[in-house]
């Protein structure tokens, strides 16, 4: 039994090491991939612009729920005016980056993993290698960079729409004073809070995109293998995102 435990532990350590080696390999290849910037633009479109609708819709609903719950809670203390502060800080620091990363893993991460996994399964990656085209450089790095560029922007859009959602419920429906909603927010949200959100979403962008391309690239070249890679992408991205979120929050405090 201890032997089993040890073997599973060493197995996960090996895959963590491989993940880091894969990341280093991607970073080394970044300068050469920048030459074909049109590929990166295409991937920013795939990862970012195509995720826009789901991000905006979810941001709106999360903001509206925050407005409603925050209003109910703050009303007990007679300080509904702090609603703007509460929702803005919650969205910018935590919910924006984290929920965006989870949605990104579900919307763009799965697409990346299954796309690259299918290329592996249909031997397209091997064909590229035969034509002396490095698949890492041609396929993997542009997708990785696309995700890294798209994530902070998506998180910012999420937070923005969320704040407007909270304003919609708080000010328009619950009649919190519009002036104090915005002015209390301005007085208590600091640039440090926004920076924390940006740093978080950048790191989540790297981790989620890395996991997606890694799982796709190393997928078992069968139909089942591609399916497993997609599932693992979502599960691993979610766990790593929440774990890193705790770490970064602790560092910023």
């Amino acid at each position: 039994m201890i032997k089993d435990l040890w073997s599973s532990l060493s197995e996960s350590l090996v895959s963590l090491g491989e993940l880091v080696r894969f990341l280093l390999r991607l970073i080394v290849n970044v300068p050469r991939s920048l030459v074909r910037y049109d590929l990166i633009v295409e991937q920013v479109y795939n990862a970012g612009a195509l995720s826009l609708v789901i991000i905006m819709l979810c941001g709106l609903f999360v903001g509206m729920v925050l407005g409603l719950q925050g209003f109910q809670l703050l009303q007990r203390f007679g300080s509904e005016d702090a609603l703007g502060t509460a929702t803005a800080i919650g969205l910018v620091k935590e919910l924006g980056p984290v929920i965006t990363a989870l949605l990104f893993a579900g919307r763009a991460g799965t697409a990346l993993a299954s796309e690259i996994g299918l290329m592996r399964a249909t031997d397209q990656l091997s064909a590229m290698e035969m034509m002396a085209v490095d698949p890492i450089q041609r396929v993997v790095v542009p997708r990785f960079l696309g995700g890294v560029i798209a994530m902070p922007l998506l998180a910012a859009i999420f937070s923005l729409i969320g704040i407007f959602g909270a304003q919609l419920i708080g000010v328009q429906i619950m009649h919190v004073d519009s002036g104090s909603f915005w002015s209390q927010m301005r007085a208590s949200v600091d640039l440090v809070d926004i920076n924390e959100g940006i740093v978080k979403s950048l790191i989540f962008g790297v981790s989620c995109s890395l996991i997606a391309v890694y799982e796709g690239y190393n997928a078992v070249p069968t139909a089942e293998g591609v399916g497993t890679a997609t599932t693992r992408t979502v599960v691993l991205s979610a766990v790593i995102t929440l774990f890193l979120d705790y770490l970064i929050t602790a560092m910023f405090l």
Binding site: A49, L154, I157, S159, R186, I194
Partner: protein, 165 residues
């Protein structure tokens, strides 16, 4: 060709929207971002016995009009007092030298801010000047303590008077 053009357009729109959102977050939800080009300003300081929970960035106002912000809070080891440096916008350049600075609270649970009350002097505060007349933050515990002491003092003679009668 047309396809690639549409793709670039979509990407461009996405980037624009993303950066617009970032710009909005940094300028409209925070207190700092609003001043893009740095407005001309001058700094004045004041020493307080107790600043309560006054924070850097708190507004400085006169008659309710915001004239500047607190830029730093330090400690003077000679006088054992807090030194508060305030940055006042240059357009408000006629604050008399004998003005009075007090720390007030916004609402019941709001943050602290500094309120200036104009004095009667003919000369005006300049950069690096100091306001000498200050009033500390209103600390609820002290006030309750004072109230209790006064209450005890006022009731004690009455009680003893009752006994003699």
């Amino acid at each position: 060709m047309r396809n690639s053009r549409a793709l670039s357009l979509g990407t461009g729109l996405f980037m624009l929207l993303g950066f617009a959102a970032l710009l909005f977050l940094t300028t409209q939800t925070t207190s700092r971002g609003i001043s893009f080009g740095r407005k001309p300003h001058y700094d004045i300081s004041a020493k307080f016995d107790n600043i309560g929970d006054l924070k850097v960035g708190a507004p400085v106002s006169m008659s309710g009009v915001e004239m500047g912000r607190v830029v730093s809070i330090g400690f003077d080891w000679n006088a054992y007092k807090a030194i508060v440096v305030m940055r006042i916008e240059a357009q408000y350049d006629k604050i008399p030298t004998d003005s009075d600075a007090s720390i007030y609270t916004q609402g019941l649970l709001g943050g602290k801010f500094i309120g200036l009350t104009a004095g009667g002097a003919e000369s005006y505060l300049k950069n690096q000047d100091r306001i000498d007349f200050t009033q500390s933050a209103f600390v609820l515990e002290n006030l309750i303590g004072q109230f209790l002491a006064n209450f005890a003092k006022s009731t004690a003679p009455a009680a003893s008077a009752e006994k003699t009668q």
